[in-house]
Amino acid sequence: MSFPSLNLLSQSILSGIFIGGMYSLIGLGLGLSWGLLRQINLAHFGFVFLSAYLSYHMVSVWGLDPLLTLLILPPFFFLIGVAQQALLSRFRISPFNSLLVTFGFTVMIESLIQYVWTADFRKLHSSYGDLKFTVGGLYVPIPEFLTLLLAVFFAFAVWAAMRFTDIGKAMRAMAEDGPIAAAYGINQRGLSLMLSGVCVALASIAGVCFALTFTLTPTQIFSWVGVVFAVVMIGGLGSAIGPLVAGVIIGASEAIAMVIFAPSWAPIVSFSLLILMLLFRPGRA
């Protein structure tokens, strides 16, 4: 154990907060579909990576601007989400089985990625990649900053939509009791298709941010599963703001664990938090 300088510590915490932004941006759609549709969509991670690779391809091969892919990809992924929900609801999948089916999807997506882009490391090089600015002696890299910004923006946008719009209220009613909501005239099928589409579109946005920040390799898909699940469950299923708060807290505490102990100890933070929460406040999840 070593105690780092104050500057190093705050720089680490800052980058932890940025990572937390990534966690919560991925977790937002995952938690919404779990809490509102009762589906544990492991394929969410597959979609994040698929979107990241597509964004990489568009930038590196076709020469598009990365921010443009942020506009092109989400509508496309929205349709994928609708299709997936249409399939799952057709077979009336239970929450647990949705975990298994979407794991199957994830494996297929992973194979597809490996087939098209191989297992090599890929890095999206863009004009934004190396941009950074300084605040009070701390470096703020632009891609990470953008991720956090989008995470905050979408968390609050979803929160406001759920709270103030009719569609949002209908969705909450549907999550509470689907058949009863349907009996009162809520189009359950239409809403769940739309919600699933939105969740997967959010995954694609997270994917573009991912490509901007991280080096890509297909086998990494599963290494994000654990920590993002922890973020979603600690933040609360179906909550929009919860994962944002939980993500930032976990990201920051991992960063602290990394500087004080060793980088390889980081995973233990989120999982210990998750385990403690499951054991002592299981009602929350």
């Binding site: 490996q114 390889s264 995973p267």
Partner: protein, 583 residues
């Protein structure tokens, strides 16, 4: 059928054991080794997860504990390989028991929460091993470890070890499947709360199942450590192990002792044909596709299809027409009202149950005498059901004593109450969905009251099924019964443990007047055989006809007790039911 499969496995095992001496290519040995390896992992996973329904995504953690148990003991400490295997088993089992002892105490951690919790634990254990001297980062080399000679070559010795372990695992899985212990596990799968109330020590059983499951996974890990000869954290604790075993078991049929083995053989074979050369990626995609198609089209697996076919055949074989009325017609005879003794069977003192401030039961003191039928009535929400839930042990009382035959049972687990001779029925019948009528009743005969062996219980169950007039439906699943038959199944099940005290929770609700008459007669017959009954009911006709005394609850407190007619004329009781007149 099972016996034939069992001898088939032993014969196949013996035949495969001769293989190394027949000079087959080493490649086939390692291919079959992998098959055995996955059979052990999938079948061992199934002992906890398939039988009890606690789907674990943490099998990789226990497998990894076994790998590192052997790797550390053999590679770092330098113990002989065979001596490390018991160590690997023990480490994995101890890890599982330690974990289960905490996790199984939390009732809400079931289903997907249990799955994710076990997954999280895998990562925690991986992190700990990575950062401590057990591994420390670079991995452990196991080259040059002495393998005892079980075959002509090093690799064939490992092949033999895996073969022995796989056969042993399947035999253990069958032994559990066919035992009373196994019946308890399947009851936990269908409805854990009911299983506990009917006398299954659920907590202990889950721990045992987890220990066996983890121990066998540890064994597979111990052998595999030497097979791969270089052990790293990222390989060992990857997502492959937990997800493959789930896939294999579901594909084969996770309610079967042999299902996961079939799934393991199928998937390993399939993967082999695709992993050669450029097809590895395609192979993975196909495995993913199989998983999707399996869950969508046959969520109960290959053997689940066989099962459904068998039940459908029985269903059509059983007479669809209901003969209950005709059967019971012969015995329709009002049993004489037995004069209840003054001896006290159950004494309840100051019983209080609070749910976060709301007192569902408030300082209730009453006694139940041997041989009587005590009516327990009150408006909706008055605490009747809570009373039954507390006396049966499902809820622990906040305060007060439950003295049954001179012993205070307050605070004991529900299965202890059932074993002491307290039984209950549920207002909405809660049969074990995957067990036939006969198996449902036999379950209780095994676990309630004094308990019986599995074969005795099946014989005894016939009797109680006949008593409830369900003999002609004894081999169908509860889903195929109508409400009236399900209520009678509920009764037969409660009686199968030969309880001293039987609590009937609104057995008459939803029945037609003719069915109510039938049920009243049956309750009288039950009492005439010496069972004391607490009768919770809204049908006042039945309450008046059956009960010796009644107790009235309102807002969780007792407001009256005594003879039925007197009590119903009391002012408080009228006020509770009809409201107070404003003078």
């Amino acid at each position: 059928m099972n016996k034939a499969v069992l001898s088939g496995i032993v014969v196949a095992g013996l035949a495969l054991a001769t293989l190394p001496w027949l000079g087959v290519a080493a490649f086939w040995e390692s291919f079959l080794y992998l098959m055995f390896h996955w059979v052990i992992l999938a079948v061992s996973w199934n002992i906890l997860s398939g039988y009890t329904g606690y789907f674990s995504f943490g099998h990789g953690a226990f497998f990894g504990a076994g790998i590192y148990g052997t790797a550390y003991l053999a590679g770092t400490v330098g113990m002989p390989f065979l001596a490390t295997l018991p160590g690997a088993v023990l480490v994995a089992a101890a890890l599982g028991v330690g974990l289960g002892a905490i996790v199984f105490r939390v009732a809400r951690v079931r289903g997907e929460l249990f799955a994710l919790l076990t997954l999280a634990i895998t990562f925690v254990i991986a992190t700990i091993i990575l950062n401590t001297p057990i591994d420390g980062g670079p991995g452990i080399y196991l080259i040059g470890i002495d393998i005892p000679k079980l075959g002509p070559s090093q690799s064939s010795s490992l092949y033999m070890l895996a073969l022995i372990a796989a056969v042993a695992t399947m035999l253990i899985s069958y032994a559990i499947y066919a035992s009373k212990f196994g019946a308890g596990l399947f009851a936990i799968h269908d409805d854990e709360d009911v299983a506990e109330v009917l006398g299954v020590p659920t907590y202990r059983y889950k721990l045992y199942a987890l220990a066996v499951s983890c121990g066998l996974a540890g064994l597979a890990g111990g052998i595999h450590a030497v097979f791969v000869s270089y052990v790293t954290v990222s390989e060992t604790f990857s997502i492959t192990v937990p997800l493959s075993v789930v896939l294999m078991s579901i594909l084969g049929g996770s309610r079967h002792w042999i299902g996961p083995a079939l799934g393991a053989i199928f998937i390993t074979g399939l993967l082999y044909f695709f992993t050669s050369g450029d097809f590895a990626v395609v192979g993975r995609a196909i495995v993913g596709l199989i998983l999707v198609v399996t869950i969508l089209f046959m969520p109960e697996g290959m053997l689940g299809l066989v099962d459904r076919w068998r039940h459908n055949r029985r269903k059509t074989a059983a007479p669809a027409q209901d003969h209950v009325a005709a059967e019971t017609g012969a015995v329709v005879r009002l049993a004489p009202k037995v004069a209840p003794s003054t001896e006290v069977l159950l004494q309840v003192r100051g019983l209080t149950k609070a749910f976060a401030g709301l007192k569902a039961l408030n300082d209730v003191t009453l006694e139940v005498r041997k041989g009587e039928i005590l009516g327990l009535i009150g408006p909706n929400g008055s605490g009747k059901s809570t009373f039954i839930n507390v006396i049966s042990g499902h809820f622990k009382p906040t305060a007060g004593e439950i003295i049954f035959e001179g012993q205070n049972l307050a605070g004991l687990d529900a299965h202890r109450m059932a074993q002491a001779g307290i039984a209950r029925t549920y207002q909405i019948p809660r049969p074990f969905g995957h067990m036939t009528v006969l198996e449902n009743v036999a379950m209780v005969a095994m676990f309630s009251g004094k308990g019986m062996s599995r074969s005795d219980a099946l014989k005894a169950a016939e009797e109680f099924v006949a008593f409830a007039g369900l003999s002609h439906r004894k081999h169908v699943l509860p889903d195929d019964l109508n409400l009236h038959q399900r209520k009678f199944l509920e009764l037969a099940r409660a009686l199968a443990g030969k309880p001293k005290l039987l609590m009937l929770d609104e057995v008459l609700s939803g029945l037609t007047p003719a069915e109510i008459n039938e049920a009243i007669e049956m309750i009288q017959r039950i009492r005439s055989q010496g069972t004391t009954i607490i009768f919770v009911e809204h049908v006042m006709r039945a309450v008046m006809a059956l009960t010796d005394r009644i107790v009235v609850l309102n807002y969780g407190a007792m407001i009256a007790q005594g003879n039925a007619v007197d009590v119903m004329n009391e002012g408080d009781v009228k006020a509770a039911y009809l409201g107070k007149a404003h003078a």
